[in-house]
């Protein structure tokens, strides 16, 4: 593996975006490298290519491991470990969504639920609770929905995405055929 200007710009960009995607610069760079490298890379090589310390590489790989985004492999007769990005592009996207849901939604949902259980001590709290319940319901809907989308096959998801806002048409169409089983009025 060699750092060419093209590869550098990709890797560094992922480093910079990293923080927006929920991991730090190094983690982003390491991942970018593993994704575009045809061959698996060893920790040492990663450190050299990126100009970062060995310890930092180790921590970055650990983090990527917790996201289940890397695969470790071995070459026959070699002791060191080689790392590679794991799964298809769809798998990656799924992992990232899932991980972010865990970090960004779940803790909030759980807190909001707790607050909803409390008794409101005064009118201000009562108002707050109403707002909190609205937020909770919305987040819960989004969470459940994205989860169920993730269980669809990539092909179905693709169909759905290609529909775009045309999905509105499909819904009307569905409503007509299902008649009283209007899904919007259930739940």
């Amino acid at each position: 593996m060699q750092m060419t200007p093209m590869i550098e710009s990709f890797v560094y960009h992922f480093g910079e975006m990293g923080s927006r995607w929920g991991f730090n610069r190094t983690v982003g760079q390491i991942y970018a490298l593993l994704v575009i490298s045809e061959q698996p890379l060893c920790a040492n090589e990663i450190g050299e290519l990126l100009g970062i310390s060995r310890g930092n590489v180790s921590m970055g790989l650990k983090e990527l491991g917790s996201w289940q985004l890397v695969q470790v492999s071995h070459k026959p007769g070699e002791r060191r470990e080689f790392y590679h990005s794991r799964g298809s592009i769809w798998d990656m996207a799924n992992r990232v969504f899932e991980e972010r849901r865990k970090r960004e939604m779940d803790p909030t949902l759980s807190l909001l639920r707790d607050i909803m259980m409390d008794e409101a001590a005064n009118p201000e709290e009562a108002f707050a609770q109403k707002r909190i319940a609205e937020i909770h319901d919305l987040l819960e809907n989004i969470t459940e929905w994205t989860q169920s989308l993730q269980s669809l096959s990539p092909e179905k998801l693709n169909t759905l995405m290609k529909l775009g806002s045309g999905v509105g048409k499909v819904l009307e169409f569905t409503d007509k055929f299902l008649g009283k089983k209007d899904p919007a009025k259930e739940a």
Copy 2:
């Protein structure tokens, strides 16, 4: 407005989640406060309730303004400005999605497009370009799709969300009736 334990826990939680949602602690706290307060609050009151400096409040409100998440109002005969969260829960969610798309997706899409235009200088770059093209296409699909979802009415979106993975059934169903007009093959 008074800080009760319930309100505190909500506000502080939003502060902590802030960084995961793309803004800093103070911004998260301020927003939480504005959302659950029935009355609009002035900058001073916000600072006092949260125990943060006046300057910090001003910067936080500016940031929220750039996200179009606050509304400024005035009381008759008062010179100072009162702030309030803006729009419905759906509007908020939309704003947050949109803002994040701008920050997290658009710059990456643009970089990937540029790289795809370049000539690959060697087989390594050729492989990298293939991966980059895959990523680009996926991100572009997701971006376009979420954009088109945002243009649906809250009611339609709700219907869609309630369908959950049942959307798979609807797609099959649609395919059958539309026959050759397979939506997956259009676009």
